[in-house]
């Protein structure tokens, strides 16, 4: 029987964990390796719990995360640093897409 794809793209056991966490009123990212994205105004974006940089272009940054990828669209984009679990990028950010 083929596996039913999940809307979040997470494995089923993690999905359950998330549901459980929600029921218990716990922040779900403490339970699972979910990506976190912080926007500091218009110019800085911090992505935590990433799985690697996919693409660096002058107007676009693609970062792999659990269950998909995050695309940051920005002018004059520059990646300030890449740490094992954290990426900081600067630029004039126009869009942050999760897909």
């Amino acid at each position: 029987m083929p596996k039913k794809p999940n809307p979040s793209g997470l494995p089923r056991w993690q999905e359950r964990l998330v549901t459980a966490a929600q029921r218990l009123d716990l922040p779900e990212d403490t339970w699972v390796d979910l990506p976190r994205v912080y926007l500091y105004g218009k110019h800085h974006v911090l992505i935590e719990n990433h799985r690697g940089v996919l693409e660096v272009a002058p107007d676009r940054l693609r970062v792999a995360v659990t269950g998909g990828e995050i695309i940051v669209e920005a002018a004059h984009l520059i990646v300030r640093y890449i740490l094992p679990d954290e990426i900081l990028a600067d630029g004039e950010i126009s869009k942050v897409i999760y897909q």
Binding site: G52, V53, L54, E55, V56, A57, P58, L77, I78, V79, R80, Y81, I82, L83, P84
Partner: protein, 418 residues
């Protein structure tokens, strides 16, 4: 963030241009090997610029081969590279270091002692007293006594001071003092006479200690002894004993006269300000003038007032003075006086001239005109002013060197009673 920047700077880093088709793979490898990449930017078709620490740069090499990437070194940054550059200029670095350490060393001493608030004590006197207390220019800051202790010490050494405060500000020591309204009289233990400071007629005499030598109504001359500090000893059985030397004390008032003279011309040319002024400024460096703005005064006849400001940068007083000079244009105006006007003005001026010697607490009693001379062009007046003044002043003497014997003054008849 800033800490990381500082760390990168201190450890040194390189800026690279990277040409690769497999950026994702390369970055993944870097992350796996713990190579930290920062300031990553797309800079052309499949070209990126990025920064790496120097150590990581060496570890990147094998990864480049693996991902078929090429790198090109753009620049080396950070302290280690700067130091390498500077190593060739070591005399400069040494000079800078020597300069800084000299300044730090010299700033550990007090070089300037500033004294303010003194009127009767001269700055040199106070400096001398400080020197005796062990404080002089060039003293190390750590060996300086506590400011309060030093102020107390100064007060003890200078009895004419009412208050002192010592403030240490870097290489400067400010000494603020306040003097007593009147400098304390020297001790009454030293024998002294009271003598006349002026010719006059005694009007009042109160003797507290000593032997009176004159009486009310006597005419005295300058320097004459009024109250002697020598008291005749009263020996046994009317025999004269050994004299006693004391500090004479008392109050002696006398009427004195002062003359004053003044001459007022009938025609006079006086300068009168027109109200037009001109400002000149310059820097005075030793004997040289450095003009600031125009220096040519546009008036033919003028009065000047000058103000000088020493130039100062923080604690440092420079040998440069800013001079502001204000020139006031004046014109000559003639004044005509009648004989009566001139006479009145001359009398007033002569009285003023005579009264300059009279102190504030002494009273001018009477003023009389001695003489009026009228010449063709001026009126000359001489007046005399009568005033009652305190006439006594102390005059100290050494008892052993005293020529006079105690038999000279005979204050009363008691000693000579039968």
């Amino acid at each position: 963030m800033w800490n990381e920047h500082l760390l990168h700077f201190l450890r040194g880093y390189v800026v690279l241009r990277l040409r690769t088709l497999r950026l994702q793979r390369l970055l993944q490898q870097c992350a796996q090997d713990g190579i930290l990449v920062w300031d990553l930017q797309h800079s052309g078709h499949n070209e990126y610029t990025l920064s790496l620490s120097t150590e990581d740069f060496l570890r990147l090499r094998p990864l480049l081969q693996e991902t078929h990437s090429q790198i090109h070194l753009v620049s080396k940054k950070g302290l280690p590279f700067l130091l390498r550059q500077w190593r060739r200029r070591w005399p400069l670095i040494a000079a800078v270091f020597a300069f800084v350490s000299t300044v730090i060393l010299l700033s550990q001493f007090v070089w300037i002692i500033q004294i303010s608030g003194n009127h009767t004590y001269t700055a040199a006197e106070l400096r001398q007293l400080l020197q005796e207390a062990g404080v002089h220019p060039g003293i190390a800051r750590w060996s300086l006594p506590q400011p309060e202790a030093l102020a107390d010490e100064l007060l003890q050494r200078a009895p004419g001071l009412a208050w002192a405060e010592v403030e240490q500000d870097g290489i400067r020591l400010h000494v603020h003092v306040a003097e007593r309204a009147e400098r304390r009289e020297p001790s009454l233990s030293k024998p002294r006479n009271l003598v006349a400071i002026q010719d006059g007629v005694i009007t009042k005499m109160v003797v507290i200690r000593g032997t009176p030598m004159v009486h009310v109504g006597d005419h005295v001359t300058t320097g004459q002894v009024l109250i002697s500090g020598v008291i005749a000893g009263s020996g046994e059985l009317g025999q004269p004993g050994m004299p006693v030397f004391v500090a004479a004390e008392g109050e002696v008032k006398a009427t004195t006269w002062y003359t004053g003279r003044a001459s007022i011309p009938l025609h006079q040319m006086v300068e009168k300000a027109t109200g037009r002024t001109f400002q000149r400024n310059w820097l005075q460096i030793g004997k040289r003038k450095l003009p600031l703005g125009p220096q040519q005064v546009p008036f033919s006849r003028y009065r000047t007032t000058r103000r000088e400001e020493p130039l100062q940068i923080a604690a440092l007083v420079l040998p440069v003075t800013v001079v502001h000079e204000r020139d006031e244009e004046v014109t000559l105006e003639s004044i005509e006086r009648t004989a009566a006007q001139a006479r009145q003005e001359a009398v007033d001026a002569a009285n003023r001239a005579a009264s300059v010697h009279v102190k504030n607490n002494e009273q001018v009693r009477n003023a009389q005109i001695l003489r009026i001379t009228t010449t063709g062009s001026a009126v000359e007046v001489e007046t005399v002013v009568e005033a009652e003044i305190d006439i006594a002043a102390p005059e100290y003497f050494e008892p052993s060197a005293l020529p006079q014997t105690p038999s000279v003054p005979q204050p009363s008849q008691q000693n000579t009673a039968p």
